[in-house]
Symmetry: D2
Subunit: 135 residues, 4 copies
């Protein structure tokens, strides 16, 4: 899991947008994002891109937890409820994985436990092990 | 189009992530994002969340160009090629729109013209006109 | 639930493709499809369209179980494992629903319990009650 | 293209549902489906599963036109307008393809030219050439 944590630490877009890693285990990850003003759109709700980024990073951590470099092929997100503040949480879990392709589901909830978004992502596994990734 | 431009100007997440509005017309929008270090993931390529945010904002501008408040219901993004630098462009266009629901396609390209991602989004139109949105 | 059952009975495409309704309750439905030769593609596996149809019909039954006419806006399906025979099952459940829009997840499994596909669908609810639908 | 045509001919689910192949060329395909009563749902419109099947088969033909076995990983479909009769057409074209993964867009229109659905699919290419597929 150390290499995955380093992967997270080196993710500058996650850092730029205030995302924290809470937990990672085989095929699963939990991240959080404390909402600040810069996460908002013109309607004063959390931007879909911020919610996607949180979910996508949870997906990336879970997908890379298996120890091989996994890159996102595509993702689908459904927005259930507008988020306005507090902290958002993303919990990713593997749905199905073979040596080449894995599918992951991420649930984004607010701190009241309400479902904000559901994200489904597919990743393609490269031959490289994560240790080959940039430091 | 003035109200849509204001909508964009008030989008703090877009500003935080360096996104510029180039063009907007009825049902269409073109935006750009100059890649900086903070857009990168641990693999030194542009983060999927950054690409999604650019596409999502192009979608939002195009969807709101019709003059009624439109909120994203869901979105699907396929990543075609890793982006590493330069400027990315997102061009959104309406595919189909009725008074309640509209579908939009966004193509994200790099400055060599290569396709980086395809995004398909659906928006639900509220009864409010955009002038009712927060200033 | 009687009106939903009638809805299913009147679905000619489901009947044409050998789909059976096993259970329906508020926001949930379970259907089955016994695989026959006509469900196959040229690779002798079950056609993606057959799997989608089974999932889509489970989604429709679950979405209409709330008593108002619901029509599909869009759907996303990920294929996990090729199916070759036996009986496939689709279990749909509501993920989130407000008066206008509902999201549903459907899991398609084979008779060994393996996951064949995951389907995520969104439905838009009309004002009509189901009793207004064609007999 | 001969091997792709044979692939289509051997697709029993397409035949069972009245789908015809009109054209195929490198990375593109056009198919049609004359609407019959068995394509309908309980609302007397064409079933989403029938529309998906038409689109999916156009996608499969286009994806396999490159000469290597390609299997669908996932697909996203947005329903734009209810179809009630006549003939539906699906036109698939490759959006992006590398040796392992290809993305395709399919537009489904009715015989008045109206857009019925948009389909986006991803395929994974196996090492086998199509000639290795079942006869």
């Amino acid at each position: 899991m150390e290499s995955v944590r380093k992967l997270f630490t080196n993710d500058r877009f996650g850092a730029h947008n205030g995302i924290d890693l809470l937990e990672v285990s085989d095929g699963r990850a939990k991240l959080s994002m404390e909402i600040r003003d810069y996460h908002k759109n013109a309607y004063d709700t959390v931007h879909g891109g911020a919610i996607f980024t949180l979910a996508d990073l949870a997906f990336a951590v879970a997908a890379n937890s298996h120890g091989r470099v996994a890159v996102a092929i595509n993702a689908h997100i459904s927005f259930m409820k507008a988020a306005t503040g507090g902290t958002l949480f993303a919990e990713a879990e593997v749905v199905s994985a073979n040596p080449k392709i894995g599918a992951y589901t991420v649930r984004v909830t607010d701190d009241g436990g309400d479902l904000i978004a559901i994200f489904q992502g597919m990743a393609y596994r490269k031959r490289d092990s994560i240790s080959a990734s940039p430091e």
